[in-house]
C-alpha cells in the first residue's frame, strides 16, 4: 500500500491545480496528461520490455489524424473518434513493433525511426485527406469538456486510468515476463515465455494508448499539421522514460511531468530544449542508468546481512512439486550435432528416467552442455532425435519445453538483476497463469487468483531452496551461490517433470554442495527426473542413480556410480587415479 502514496499525492496535486493556477496552466497540465497517456503505454515497451522504440510519435500522428479526419469529414462523435484512433494506433503499433521479434536493438530503433519519418511524409503528401501542410482541425468537445479546465480534467482522467492499467500490467506475470525478455531472454524462453506473443500484446496495448493520446492531442492543439509531430517530440517521450528509470511507473511519470514543464520554467531555453533533453539523456545513461526510480529505491539500500547461509528444506519438495507420477522418460536416440567440423555430439544414446538423478560428466568440450541444450530445445539435432516418451521433442522452440514439464538452469545463472528474488522465481510459474492481458490490466478476479497462486508457489520454492528471507531483495545484490539456488527455485516453481541442471555446484562451498546434493536427491524422490551436468565427481557419485561419461561427444561409459568409478578408461581419461 505504501507504494500507492506517490501516485495519490501526484493525483491530488493535479486535481488541486485548477484552484490556484490560470488557464494557461490548464493547457500545460493537459499536455502533460496527454503525453503521459502515450508514455505510460510506451513505458511497457521501452522500460519493461527493453525494446528501443524511438519513433513512437508515428502512432501519435496516426491517432491524431484518424480522430480528426473522422470528426471533420464524417461528423463522428469525438469520443468514438478517439477510440478509432486508438484502434488504428494499436494496429500500427503491431506493425512498427513486429520487426523487434527478429531484429537487435539498434536495428529496431532504426526501423521505428524510419516508420516515423514515413508517416509524417505521408501526412504531408496525402493532401485530400490530411490537408497536407495546411492541416485540419482537431475534434471539438461539447460541454463540460470545451473549457480549458474541463478538458484538463478529462485528460487527467484518461491519464489516471492508463496509469492504473499499466501499473497492473507491470505487476502481473506480463510485466515480469517483459522484464525477463529484456534482461534474461534465454532464461525467459526456458520458462515458457513466448517473446512473440507477449510483445504483440504489449505493442497492441501501447499502440492503443498512443492512438488515444493522438486524438486527445489533436483536440488540445485544436488544429494539427505534420509539423506538430516532430521527431523531437518522439525523443522527448523516449527520454522521459529513461530519465524516469527502466522498470518503473512512478519514475517515468515524474520524468514526463518534468520534461513537459521544464520549458515553462526556463522560457529563454525553449529553443534549446531538445538540446537539453539530449544532454540529459546522455548524462542519465552515463551517470545514473537507473534514472529517477533508482534514486527513489530506498528499500534496496539497506545493507544485507553479511553472514547468511542457504538452508534448503528438502522435506518440503514433494509438497511443492505435487505433479503426480511422471510416466515418460526422456530418451536420446543416436543424436548427432556438429558445429562446423566439430562433432559436439556424435551419436549419443541416453535415457533420463523419471524419479532418478542422471549424472552427465566428461572433460571440457565433451558435449555435456550441448546435450542439455538439445534436450531443452536450443539446438536441433542434425541426426537422431530426442524423445519424451514416444513423442519427438520439437526442434528450435525452447519456449515450448516448459509446457512439456522440462525445466533447466544455466551454467552462469541467468537471473533478472533488477527484479526482486521473488519476482525472479515467479517467472518460473508464468505458463500456469490463466488471466488474459486485459484481465491483468483491469485486475479482474482470475488475475488476482493467478497472482496469489504464483506468489504462494514461488514463496514455497524459495523456502525449499532456503532463500525465503531474501525474497524482497533485488537479485543483483545476491551472492553467486545464492543465484544458483534462485535458478533452481525458479525451475521448481514450474513443477517440472524433468529438471536439467547445468553445473549447479560450480562456485559453491563444500557445505553448500552437500546441501545442494540433498536437495537434488529430494527432487528426484518426489518423482522428477534430474539430469545433472557436473564436474564435482564427489557430488555425482554421491547422489546419482545413473551416470553417463562423455568424451568427444560420444559415450565413454555408462552405468551406476560404482561401475563408473571402477571403469578403467574413465579413470585414466577424466577422473585421474
Amino acid at each position: 500500500m505504501r507504494s500507492l502514496i506517490p501516485y495519490v499525492l501526484i493525483f491530488v496535486a493535479a486535481l488541486l491545480l485548477p484552484l490556484f493556477a490560470n488557464d494557461y496552466w490548464a493547457v500545460i497540465g493537459a499536455r502533460a496528461a496527454v503525453y503521459w497517456v502515450l508514455v505510460a503505454g510506451l513505458n511497457l515497451v521501452v522500460g519493461y520490455g527493453g525494446q528501443l522504440a524511438i519513433g513512437w510519435v508515428a502512432l501519435l500522428t496516426l491517432g491524431s489524424y484518424t480522430a480528426s479526419i473522422l470528426v471533420a469529414r464524417f461528423n463522428l462523435d469525438p469520443f468514438l473518434a478517439y477510440a478509432a484512433g486508438g484502434v488504428v494506433g494499436a494496429l500500427a503499433g503491431v506493425v512498427v513493433g513486429l520487426p523487434a521479434l527478429r531484429l537487435r536493438t539498434f536495428y529496431f530503433a532504426m526501423t521505428t525511426l524510419g516508420f516515423a519519418t514515413i508517416v509524417t511524409q505521408i501526412a504531408l503528401a496525402w493532401q485530400s485527406v490530411t490537408g497536407g501542410g495546411i492541416g485540419l482541425p482537431g475534434p471539438m468537445l461539447a460541454a463540460p469538456f470545451d473549457s480549458a479546465w474541463g478538458f484538463y480534467l478529462l485528460c487527467l482522467g484518461f491519464a489516471a486510468v492508463v496509469t492504473w492499467m499499466t501499473a497492473n500490467v507491470a505487476s502481473s506475470r506480463y510485466g515480469r515476463s517483459l522484464v525477463a525478455i529484456r534482461d534474461a531472454e534465454v532464461a525467459a524462453e526456458a520458462t515458457g515465455i513466448s517473446k512473440a506473443r507477449l510483445l504483440i500484446i504489449v505493442f497492441l496495448f501501447s499502440g492503443f494508448t498512443a492512438g488515444v493520446a493522438g486524438g486527445l492531442f489533436a483536440t488540445l492543439q485544436s488544429y494539427i499539421t505534420p509539423e506538430a509531430f516532430s521527431f523531437d517530440l518522439s525523443v522527448t517521450f523516449f527520454i522521459a522514460i529513461l530519465v524516469g528509470g527502466r522498470g518503473s511507473i512512478i519514475g517515468p511519470l515524474l520524468g514526463n511531468v518534468l520534461l513537459t514543464l521544464l520549458p515553462e520554467f526556463a522560457a529563454p531555453l525553449v529553443a534549446w530544449s531538445t538540446f537539453l533533453y539530449a544532454a540529459l539523456l546522455l548524462a542519465i545513461v552515463l551517470l545514473m542508468p537507473g534514472g529517477i526510480a533508482a534514486l527513489l529505491d530506498f528499500r534496496n539500500r539497506k545493507p544485507l546481512e553479511s553472514n547468511r547461509s542457504i538452508v534448503p528444506q528438502p522435506d518440503r519438495v514433494r509438497a511443492l512439486l505435487d505433479h503426480g507420477p511422471v510416466r515418460d522418460n526422456i530418451v536420446l536416440s543416436k543424436v548427432v550435432l556438429a558445429f562446423g567440423g566439430v562433432r559436439a555430439i556424435d551419436g549419443l544414446d541416453m535415457t533420463i528416467r523419471a524419479g532418478e538423478v542422471h549424472g552427465l560428466i566428461g572433460p571440457n568440450g565433451s558435449g555435456k552442455t550441448t546435450t542439455l541444450n538439445v534436450i531443452s530445445g536450443y539446438y536441433a539435432p542434425q541426426e537422431g532425435e530426442a524423445f519424451l516418451g514416444t513423442r519427438v521433442l520439437p526442434h528450435g522452440i525452447p519456449q515450448a519445453r516448459s509446457a512439456l514439464g522440462i525445466a533447466r538452469t544455466f551454467q552462469t545463472p541467468r537471473v533478472i538483476g533488477e527484479a526482486s528474488v521473488l519476482q525472479n522465481v515467479m517467472i518460473g510459474a508464468t505458463i500456469d497463469g490463466r488471466a488474459s492481458f486485459l484481465e491483468a490490466a483491469l485486475t479482474l478476479p482470475r488475475h488476482r487468483s493467478d497472482e496469489k497462486r504464483m506468489t504462494t508457489r514461488a514463496m514455497d520454492a524459495l523456502e525449499v531452496v532456503g532463500l525465503a528471507s531474501l525474497a524482497a531483495v533485488r537479485a543483483d545484490r545476491l551472492q553467486h551461490s545464492e543465484l544458483r539456488f534462485v535458478e533452481i527455485a525458479r525451475a521448481l516453481t514450474g513443477r517440472p517433470a524433468f529438471l536439467l541442471l547445468d553445473e549447479p555446484a560450480a562456485g559453491l562451498s563444500t557445505e553448500e554442495i552437500k546441501r545442494l546434493g540433498i536437495l537434488i536427491k529430494a527432487v528426484a524422490e518426489a518423482g522428477t527426473g534430474v539430469l545433472l551436468v557436473e564436474h564435482h565427481a564427489d557430488l555425482i557419485f554421491d547422489i546419482c542413480d545413473h551416470v553417463t561419461v562423455l568424451n568427444l561427444g560420444r559415450e565413454l561409459a555408462a552405468g551406476t556410480p560404482a561401475e563408473i568409478r571402477a571403469h578403467k578408461e574413465v579413470v585414466s581419461a577424466y577422473l585421474g587415479a
Binding site: 528501443l52 527478429r102 539498434f106 536495428y107 532504426m110 519519418t117 534465454v186 525523443v235 538540446f275 539530449a278
Partner: protein, 286 residues
C-alpha cells in the same frame, strides 16, 4: 532521362555508401553502432560551407579544416558517448548515449548554423548542369577513393592490420599488446573523416542543412543492413543499389512513394536476412 536518374542515383548512393562505411568503421573498432554517423555527413556539408563560403577560405584549406572538424567530432563521440558504455555492451546503452550525442550535434547545428538549407560552394566548376555535373560525380569519386584508400590502409599498412586485428578479436588483440584504446580513437577519427567526406563531396547535392543528419542516419544505415554489418564492400554495393532504386522510384512515383518503397525494402531485407545479404550468421546464444 535515364542518364539523369543514374547520375542522381549513383551520386546519392555513394553518399549513403560512405555513411554506411562510417557506421562500419566505428563498429569494427568498438562493436558499437552510432547515431552520430549520419550527423558526421551533415557536418561535412555544414563545415564545408562554413569554412569556404562564410570564412572565405580557399577550397583546399577549407576542405582540410572541415575534415579536421569532423575527425574531432568523431573523436569526441568515442570519448563521450562510446568509451563509457563499452563495459556493458550487452545492455545496449550505446544506442542511447550515441542517440543523445547525435541529437546534441543536430540541435546545436540547427540553432548555431541555420534551420534552413544553406548553399554549398561550387568546388571545381566542371559540367554545368546535366548528368555530368560535378555535384553528381564528386560523391562517386569520393566513395571510390575512400574504398581504395581503406583497402590499402587495411591490407598494406601495419596500423591498418592492427585495426583489423581489433575488429576480429578485441581480447586477443589486447593480449598481443596492441594499444586498443588509441586504435579505437584513431578509428573514430577516421570514421569522422569518412562521414565528413560524404557530406562535403555531396554538399552541392544535399546542401548544408542540419536535417541531413537524421536523413543520412537512416539512409546510410540501409546499406549496412543490406550489406551486412562491418562489410565495407557490401555497404558500397548496397548504397549504390539503394541510391539508384530510390531515385528511380522518386522519378517514377514521387518522393513520398520513394520514401515508403525504401522503407519497405529495408524492412523486408532485415526480416528475411537480419544479418544482411553478405553478412555472417549470429553467434551462439546459450
Amino acid at each position: 532521362m535515364l542518364a539523369a536518374i543514374l547520375a542522381a542515383g549513383l551520386a546519392v548512393g555513394s553518399i549513403y555508401a560512405l555513411i554506411g562505411v562510417t557506421y562500419n568503421i566505428m563498429f569494427s573498432a568498438s562493436r558499437v553502432m552510432s547515431f552520430t554517423s549520419g550527423q558526421l555527413g551533415m557536418l561535412g556539408g555544414v563545415f564545408g560551407a562554413l569554412c569556404i563560403t562564410r570564412l572565405g577560405l580557399p577550397i583546399l584549406p577549407g576542405f582540410i579544416l572541415a575534415m579536421a572538424g569532423c575527425a574531432l567530432v568523431g573523436l569526441i563521440t568515442e570519448i563521450v558517448a562510446v568509451r563509457p558504455v563499452l563495459k556493458a555492451l550487452d545492455q545496449h546503452l550505446y544506442v542511447l548515449s550515441t542517440l543523445g550525442f547525435a541529437l546534441m550535434i543536430q540541435t546545436f547545428t540547427a540553432i548555431e548554423w541555420s534551420t534552413e538549407p544553406q548553399p554549398f560552394p561550387r568546388l571545381i566548376g566542371i559540367g554545368e548542369g546535366g548528368p555530368w555535373d560535378e555535384k553528381f560525380w564528386l560523391p562517386v569519386v569520393a566513395c571510390f577513393a575512400t574504398i581504395v584508400g581503406l583497402e590499402l590502409l587495411y591490407r598494406r599498412t601495419l596500423v591498418g592490420r592492427a585495426f583489423l586485428a581489433i575488429a576480429e578479436d578485441n581480447f586477443a588483440a589486447r593480449a598481443l599488446g596492441l594499444p586498443e584504446r588509441n586504435l579505437r580513437m584513431a578509428s573514430f577519427a577516421l570514421a569522422g573523416v569518412v562521414g565528413g567526406l560524404a557530406g562535403f563531396a555531396g554538399g552541392e547535392l544535399l546542401l548544408a542543412f542540419f536535417a541531413n543528419g537524421a536523413m543520412l542516419n537512416f539512409l546510410g544505415f540501409v546499406p549496412v543492413a543490406l550489406g551486412g554489418l562491418g562489410n565495407n564492400r557490401g555497404a558500397v554495393i548496397g548504397g549504390l543499389a539503394l541510391g539508384v532504386f530510390q531515385q528511380t522510384a522518386n522519378f517514377l512515383m514521387g518522393g513520398v512513394v520513394a520514401g515508403v518503397a525504401v522503407f519497405a525494402v529495408f524492412i523486408v531485407v532485415l526480416l528475411v536476412a537480419p544479418q544482411g545479404l553478405f553478412g555472417s550468421p549470429p553467434a551462439r546464444r546459450v
